[in-house]
Every structure is written in structure tokens, then in C-alpha cells.
């Protein structure tokens, strides 16, 4: 049984929606009724059937629409995909990883066949059937990283490891929560995280870097991050902030349920075999409040998290303008009863 891919948009008429099954599998990021930064990294191992962790690289009903949105972003702004000259080998590593994982998890949609360096890749949802020579960039229509990430959900950062640090030296970044690859490319781990409030003082990045530089091949890790987005907009880049920023002034008590979205990033970290780099997929999941509150536990918990969020975090996440309206709306769904432990719905 294959996935039924939705026809939908992440701009203009914003027709994006989650099916009931996709609401249930949404990676709700709060395991308790409050939130503060932590090094919440755990092994990226396969999870329950029907969850977003059923496969280590998740493909879902939004796949085709997300790839169409990515193509639109790249046509407007090719600087969203960049790779410094020494990163081509890591791009091939990533191509191999994503082709293997997608073909493994979704054989009805993707097929990879290999005879030595002669590879054939069939991507049925996007109508692609290409043969190429692994390692020879002249046999693909794009560089290897761009080729495969135009066919894979989520943003991808490839980090070079040297001098005991990680360097953001390549990436495909079109569905980001307000950071610029074009500005940050070439920076080390501490530099590109420099604008994040509070976490440096807590030593979060020192511990996270230590963990990440020790990631081993075949033992990926993951963490969740979150923010909120008005309208189901994948491209909330700083490049286009002057275009999507005004959305934040449009939230009213009447439209909260439809306009306000929880945006969750499933970030995973994988050692690449040839380049010794790390690839860092940042997979974005969106859910509108009307969909989220169909799970009463999530509604109660989100109310408490947003209400009690420290001011610096609310500002950093850009919630300031509409937080009171959102909290008021959510409060009506919170009867004060206890929430069960863990992320999942009841």
C-alpha cells in the first residue's frame, strides 16, 4: 500500500492540511507541561509503526507538494542551496544515504539499483528515472547534494568536521525557521548558533558539539525542536521575512485555529562514510491549531507550555504579537486536569 500524496500549497491559498492519520502521527515535541532548552539528543532508531519514526528518513503525504514548493523557492533564490568546493564528496555520501533510506522504507515509490558505480534511481512520485555514475558529477543534472535534496523532504546541512569543530559548509535550506544558509555558510557550530538566546550560558552547545563530533557511522542521533508559524508556510526564511512577517499581525480570536501552526523540526545527525562529515537533516512538520486540539492532551499541554514560556524564548521564536490571543484561545480547551507522561496523544 502506497502513500496517497496530497495536492496542496504552502503559499498563496495555503491549502495544506493533515489527514486524520497524519494528525495522530504528528511529532508533538513536549513530554511535559513546560519547556526549556536541553540537550535532548537520543539515538535515531526506528520507532512504532505508523509514527514518523517508522522509517529513519520519513516520507509522508506532503512529499510531492513539499518538493514542488522547494522548486519554487530555488527558482526565486538559488542561494538557498550552496556547497563549498571541498564538500562534493559529502554530497555523494548524502545522495547514497537518502536513496538507500527512501528505497528501503518505501519500495513502492523508490527503487535504487547499483552495478558498481553505475546506479539507476527511480522516483515514481516525481516521475524520475535516471541512470548515472556514482562519483561523476557530469552524469547528474545538479550537484549530488542538490539532486537528491530536491527529492527529499526537509532541509539538509552538511557539516565538515575539523579542528574539533563542525563547519556548516554545504546545505539545502528552503523550509527554515528564520535562519540564512547564505549568511551562515562557512561558520563553525558556535558561530552559526550565536544568535540563540540562553542556550550558550547553559553550556548546551559545548555539550551538543562534543556529542555530535563523536557520532559514529550507522549510529545516527536525533532531537526535536519547535517554533510556531502563521499560515502553513514552509519558507519562513529571513530572506523573505518582509513578505511573511506581516502574517503575524493577522491573528484574531476567530482565526487562531486555522492560522496558527505548531512547527516541529525532527533533526537527525548522521556520520557520512567517505567524507567523515555529518549530515543534519532538519525535517519540518506543520500542524494547525484546529488539527492539534483534536487530541485533548496536546491542547491542554500546549496551553501550559505557551502560557509559561520565558519571555526571551517567546521573543526569539517570534510569538510576541499573537501569544496572548493564542493562550486565551487554548485556555478554553484546558480544564486543568493532569496530562499523561510522554509525547503521544491519549
Amino acid at each position: 500500500m502506497g502513500i496517497t500524496f496530497r495536492k496542496e500549497t504552502f503559499r498563496d491559498d495555503f491549502s495544506f492540511k493533515n489527514s486524520p492519520e497524519h494528525i495522530r502521527r504528528f511529532p508533538f515535541p513536549f513530554h511535559e507541561d513546560s519547556y526549556m532548552y536541553a540537550v535532548n539528543i537520543e539515538p535515531h532508531v526506528v520507532g512504532p509503526k505508523g509514527s514518523v519514526l517508522e522509517n529513519l528518513i520519513d516520507v509522508d503525504e506532503h512529499y510531492v507538494a513539499e518538493m514542488q514548493d522547494r522548486a519554487l523557492v530555488l527558482a526565486e533564490d538559488p542561494l538557498r542551496c550552496q556547497s563549498l568546493p571541498h564538500m562534493t564528496l559529502a554530497g555523494w555520501d548524502l545522495l547514497e544515504l537518502l536513496m538507500e533510506q527512501q528505497a528501503l522504507g518505501y519500495p513502492e515509490h523508490f527503487t535504487l539499483t547499483r552495478e558498481g558505480d553505475h546506479w539507476r534511481w527511480i522516483n515514481r512520485p516525481l516521475g524520475i528515472d535516471d541512470t548515472f555514475t556514482f562519483g561523476d558529477v557530469s552524469t547528474l543534472p545538479y550537484g549530488p547534494m542538490e539532486y537528491i535534496t530536491r527529492q527529499s523532504q526537509g532541509d539538509f546541512c552538511i557539516l565538515d568536521q575539523r579542528d574539533g569543530n563542525l563547519w556548516m559548509d554545504a546545505g539545502m535550506v528552503t523550509t527554515q525557521a528564520d535562519w540564512s544558509l547564505d549568511f551562515d555558510i562557512g561558520m563553525n557550530f558556535f558561530e552559526w548558533h550565536a544568535p540563540v538566546p540562553l542556550a550558550h550560558e547553559k553550556g548546551i552547545f559545548i555539550r551538543a558539539l562534543k556529542f555530535l563530533t563523536n557520532i559514529q557511522q550507522g549510529k545516527p542521533a536525533r532531537r526535536l525542536n519547535w517554533t510556531m508559524t502563521i499560515n502553513p508556510r514552509l519558507d519562513t526564511s529571513p530572506e523573505n521575512y518582509h513578505k511573511w512577517g506581516p502574517d503575524r499581525t493577522t491573528v484574531t480570536p476567530e482565526n487562531v485555529g486555522d492560522k496558527v501552526h505548531l512547527r516541529v523540526e525532527l533533526q537527525s545527525f548522521w556520520r557520512l562514510p567517505r567524507s567523515n562529515g555529518i549530515v543534519f537533516p532538519i525535517r519540518c512538520y506543520l500542524i494547525k491549531m484546529d488539527e492539534l486540539v483534536t487530541q485533548p492532551k496536546w491542547a491542554r499541554r500546549l496551553h501550559r507550555v505557551i502560557r509559561d514560556l520565558p519571555e526571551e524564548l517567546a521573543t526569539y521564536k517570534g510569538l510576541t504579537r499573537y501569544r496572548p490571543t493564542l493562550v486565551e484561545w487554548l485556555s478554553k480547551l484546558d480544564d486543568g486536569s493532569a496530562t499523561s507522561p510522554g509525547f503521544g496523544p491519549d
Binding site: I185, P238, E239, G245
Partner: protein, 198 residues
């Protein structure tokens, strides 16, 4: 200076003579004084292996002071842009043992470092000393245009005209601070413009 700073914001030191075979100095305006201060601590004959690329400020001062150090090569440029071909050639022809010293405004240090990075020199091996103006070089994250000598907060992008918050977030690759639209959410909010990077 901005009241609160972050890790990507460059920190500058004090120039000091380094062991090396050749010494390349790039400085503008009051950066010359960082070189003369270094000269006071340098061993005899140090400038016999030195090349100074100097871009005087509008007042044209310090040229004679630097020439008096008797560097092996002295070049006076009209602007960083006019000095750039020479700097690139010098770096392309450089051998192991070249030491780099950058002094003066942030814009000069940043652009010289950018050129040296492109030539394959590690930024941590460069000596830097900030002297003079705090004016910033800023990239507009929206249109990608660079505005030179930004002294105000917020500042207007000289390319697309958006009113930008000049952040402390800094890219060595671009030699620029990041500018992000300060009133993107509501264009009718016009915060007062203050001159803070002098």
C-alpha cells in the same frame, strides 16, 4: 558598540611581532598606530622582511610614520578596492612563513581577512587590532546588497531601501554583519535611527 554581543561577533586583539619569514601588514587610517606600537616591541631588522599595504583615512595622516619603519615594500592605496589586486597577488605568491597583520576599521580588517581566507589562510593565524571607526559593513539578508560604513541603528539598505536592524551576527566569508528588516511585521512602525557605530 552594541550593548550585548554574541559569539559570532569578531573580537580583535593587539598586534605583536610573530616569528616568521615575511610579514604582511594591511591597515587603514588609525590602524597605522597599531603598526607603530608593534614596531616598538619588534626585534631589530623585523621590517626588513615586511610589506605594508596602507590605506590612509580622509586626513591622509600616518604615511610618513609608516615609511620611516623602512619596510621592504610600502604601498599606499586610495581604497581597499584599489589595493585588492595587489593583495591578492601577494597572497597567491606567498610561501610558508608569511605572517599576516590586519589593523584599522572593522570593514578593512574584515575584507582583508576575507581575501586571506580565500587564499587558504586560517583566520586564527591572523593578527588583528581594531583602531578607529566602529562603522560596520552590513549585508542585507533580503536583497544581499552590502552597505559600507553603516553608523546608525537601524540603517537603511543602500540597495533595496528596507530599514534594517544591524545585528551582531557576523560572517567572515561575507566580511559583513547581518541586516534584517526591523519593521517587517508592520511597516508603519518606524523606530528612531540612532548613530551608535562611530
Amino acid at each position: 558598540m552594541a550593548a550585548k554581543s554574541i559569539i559570532s561577533r569578531p573580537i580583535y586583539g593587539t598586534l605583536s611581532p610573530q616569528p616568521g619569514k615575511h610579514h604582511l601588514f594591511i591597515a587603514d587610517a588609525e590602524g597605522a598606530l597599531a603598526i607603530t606600537d608593534l614596531a616598538a616591541k619588534a626585534p631589530a631588522g623585523f621590517f626588513g622582511d615586511a610589506h605594508i599595504i596602507f590605506i590612509p583615512g580622509p586626513d591622509g595622516k600616518h604615511v610618513a610614520t609608516l615609511e620611516a619603519l623602512k619596510p621592504a615594500q610600502f604601498y599606499q592605496g586610495y581604497s581597499f578596492a584599489s589595493a585588492l589586486p595587489r593583495l591578492k597577488q601577494t597572497l597567491a605568491n606567498a610561501h610558508m612563513g608569511l605572517r599576516l597583520y590586519l589593523a584599522g576599521t572593522e570593514g578593512l580588517i574584515g575584507q582583508a581577512m576575507q581575501t586571506a581566507l580565500e587564499a587558504g589562510i586560517d583566520h586564527t593565524s591572523m593578527q588583528t587590532e581594531h583602531r578607529g571607526s566602529l562603522a560596520r559593513r552590513m549585508q542585507c539578508v533580503h536583497c544581499k546588497g552590502i552597505t559600507e560604513n553603516v553608523t546608525t541603528q537601524p540603517a537603511t539598505c543602500s540597495h533595496c531601501g528596507l530599514l534594517l536592524l544591524v545585528r551582531d551576527h557576523y560572517s567572515r566569508r561575507l566580511a559583513a554583519f547581518q541586516g534584517v528588516c526591523i519593521n517587517a511585521e508592520d511597516r508603519s512602525e518606524i523606530p528612531p535611527m540612532e548613530e551608535i557605530f562611530r
